[in-house]
């Protein structure tokens, strides 16, 4: 491989041998994690999607269609914004990768446009999706409208209550939102229900998974579709920073898609990679190896193997697992995973809003909260440069924020 182009910019890619976040091959394994733990009924669909993705991903025409849509429709590249006042306050140099400025208000659109194009190419008529915060649901509804597909979105009843704005957006966009009333009535249960529905409609429906999770090829494919965040940020850092590479690269982690896409651009550099989870949903910190939703990874579970419910102010981080590649990066020490609590997150959200005039999503505010804490404690040395992926905007969270204040 020589040159690669995203949105028209040219820069050299790194040699394959130094790339840690690679193609996991036919078995979809990241070390011991990943795999394809789904019923036999779904295996043919997984094979079909993997083959279609491999073919599309090496097809210049597919890539250029995706590039074009990301540029003229989704608004890429997103800017890298210096957080001037907050940097000054913290004694560091902080840059924000502005996924909140992408169409529909979060990074989820990058993945969804990719998968929707793939589904369309495969001749599928309907997109199925699970959603927590509703951002992935809105992105799916949006891409479906764009490509003339139908969309059915599964959403926990509890999330429907706390993310009302996004439910309305999905309705306006013509998607069907199916309330999930089982279990904790959040993201985990929405995933179960989406999988069950997928089994019975696999002929004409495509399951558009919203994060780096699920059976192979999803964790890999979603990371590749989100890679654009990291590659853009890498090029932008190279242009902005005297040394070209930040000291820290930070992103919040629910399933881990914005973090995986971000890390993919920096994994072969000296940057320290930090994923920030909600304290109440911190599978990388408190989880044990297990199998959930079709893949082996770190999972929050009790001593008998029953999966426990995650609890976070951020619906998008209320997930008891973590993408398999993150578990692998953690074990290998290439990335580190930290936790912040709800109180810190709210403070961080307010702090960023008032110092920079940016209202971030509660999910993204987790990354901000860790940077604030680590800079104040000196864990991030004064003068360090930090590149933080701001995964989404906070409009959807206004009602929750009002309640918390």
């Amino acid at each position: 491989m020589g040159e690669m182009s995203w949105s028209g910019r040219q820069y050299a890619t790194v040699p394959a041998a130094t790339r840690a976040m690679r193609d996991p091959g036919a078995t979809g394994r990241f070390g011991t994690y990943g795999g394809r733990y789904v019923p036999e009924s779904l295996i043919p669909a997984c094979h079909e999607i993997e083959a279609a993705f491999r073919e599309a991903w090496s097809d210049p025409e597919f890539r250029s269609r995706l590039d074009t849509l990301l540029t003229v429709y989704a608004g890429r590249p997103t800017p890298l914004t210096p957080a001037w006042r907050l940097s000054h306050e913290l004694g560091i140099t902080l840059f924000l990768k502005r996924e909140d400025l992408a169409h529909t208000g979060s990074h989820k659109i990058n993945n969804v446009i990719g998968q929707a194009l793939l589904a369309h190419r495969m001749g599928k008529e309907r997109l199925l999706a699970e959603t927590g915060a509703g951002q992935h649901g809105v992105a799916t509804a949006t891409a479906a409208a764009l490509l003339g597909l139908k969309a059915t979105v599964f959403m926990g009843e509890r999330d429907i209550e706390r993310q009302e704005l996004n439910v309305l957006r999905m309705n306006v966009l013509g998607a069907e939102v199916v309330p999930v009333t089982t279990g904790s009535r959040t993201l985990k249960d929405a995933c179960n229900e989406a999988m069950r529905h997928w089994v019975s409609s696999v002929d004409d429906s495509y399951y558009c998974i919203g994060s780096v999770m699920g059976p192979h090829p999803y964790p890999w494919m979603v990371r590749e579709f989100q890679r654009v965040i990291g590659e853009e940020a890498r090029a932008q850092c190279a242009a902005e920073l005297p040394v070209g590479v930040p000291d820290y690269v930070v992103a919040c982690v629910g399933g881990g898609s914005n973090a995986a896409g971000t890390f993919a651009g920096f994994v072969d550099t000296t940057a320290r990679l930090i994923g920030v989870e909600a304290e109440g949903g911190a599978a990388a910190t408190f989880g044990r190896a297990g199998v959930l939703h079709g893949f082996r990874s770190l999972v929050l579970q009790d001593e008998d193997g029953q999966v426990t419910e995650a609890h976070s102010v951020a619906a998008g981080l209320d997930y008891p697992g973590i993408g398999p590649e993150h578990a692998h990066l953690r074990d290998g020490g290439r990335a580190r995973y930290e936790t912040v609590n709800d109180g810190e997150v709210l403070q961080a959200l307010l702090c960023l809003a008032r110092t920079e005039g940016i209202l971030a999503a509660l999910e993204s505010s987790h990354a901000v909260a860790w940077v604030i804490r680590a800079a104040r404690s000196g864990e991030i040395a004064p003068g360090s440069t930090v590149m933080l992926t701001l995964s989404g905007r906070g409009d959807k969270d206004i009602a929750s924020i009002k309640e918390l204040l």
């Binding site: 036999e40 069950r196 199998v291 939703h293 193997g305």
Partner: protein, 261 residues
């Protein structure tokens, strides 16, 4: 009883009898072991015991509800195995659960614990050919028959591999979907049954959506028998006693035996 699940089922089939395997979620009620006895007395050829998991991806609302109830009542693998060890039934018992419970310690320890309590088969629906290697080895080492699923969507090459690697019987899914009662049996079930029967001498049992006696008899005509789960669990959740569940199993038994004549 020293024979394997598969040997037992083949011997039963040899008498000209369609095979009947009813299901109960372990721990769903305090008296769930009475249900197992009632099934055995009503003419079951084996009994499938669901080990409840919090996130049963391949189960419809009925078995989800039964699983939630069992977990809420404090059911654990260890407690189930203790109760299973006290059971006195003359047909083989088969555990059905999801991968996460199987991998808690090692797959070898899990399989060893099952056989130590007298179980003779294991079904793990989210462990397809791709992931089953280690578990299949562990089960074989313990003399536990690991039953694999075959689906209407499986290619012929996959069906061949499934019939070769499955032990005990081959679990043929009647339809693309989750467990749960259904009105009709789709045409694809008959096709899958014929195809599997052409590939293997191992018993082939249909499962998923087998709800009433006539349906069971019809399906058994395309294979060697049926697994009945949600229909029984629906009755149990609605308050049916073990005796009534036994009577329902007996009615299916009669329909199967009449159909076979």
């Amino acid at each position: 009883m020293t024979e394997s699940l598969e040997e037992f089922l083949i011997a039963r089939r040899g008498t000209g009898r369609p095979l009947l395997v009813p299901y109960v979620t372990a721990g769903v009620t305090p008296g769930w072991t009475d249900v197992v006895h009632a099934y055995a007395d009503a003419g079951a050829d084996a009994v499938e015991l669901g080990f409840p998991f919090s996130d049963p991806m391949l189960d419809g609302v009925t078995i989800q509800e039964a699983s939630d109830r069992a977990i809420a009542a404090g059911t654990t693998v260890r407690k189930i195995l203790e109760e299973v060890a006290t059971l006195d039934v003359d047909v083989p018992l088969i555990a059905m659960t999801y991968s996460n419970l199987v991998v808690q310690q090692s797959t070898a320890e899990f399989c060893a614990a099952l056989t130590a309590s007298g179980l003779r088969g294991l079904i793990v629906p989210d462990s397809p050919l791709e992931e089953v290697g280690e578990l299949a080895d562990a089960a074989a080492a313990e003399g536990l028959d690991l039953v694999l699923l075959a689906a209407p969507s499986s290619s012929r090459a996959r069906l061949r591999e499934i019939t070769e690697r499955s032990r005990g019987f081959v679990y043929a899914l009647t339809h693309m979907g989750t467990t749960g009662e259904r009105g009709e049996i789709p045409e694809q079930a008959a096709r899958l049954g014929r195809e599997l029967k052409g590939l293997t001498d191992r018993p082939v049992l249909f499962g998923f959506g087998v709800s009433h006696p006539a349906q069971a008899a019809e399906l058994a005509g395309h294979a060697d028998g049926v697994v009945v789960a949600s229909a029984l669990m629906r009755k149990l959740l609605d308050g049916a006693r073990p005796r009534e569940l036994g009577e329902y199993v007996a009615s299916i038994r009669r329909a199967l035996d009449q159909g076979a004549r």
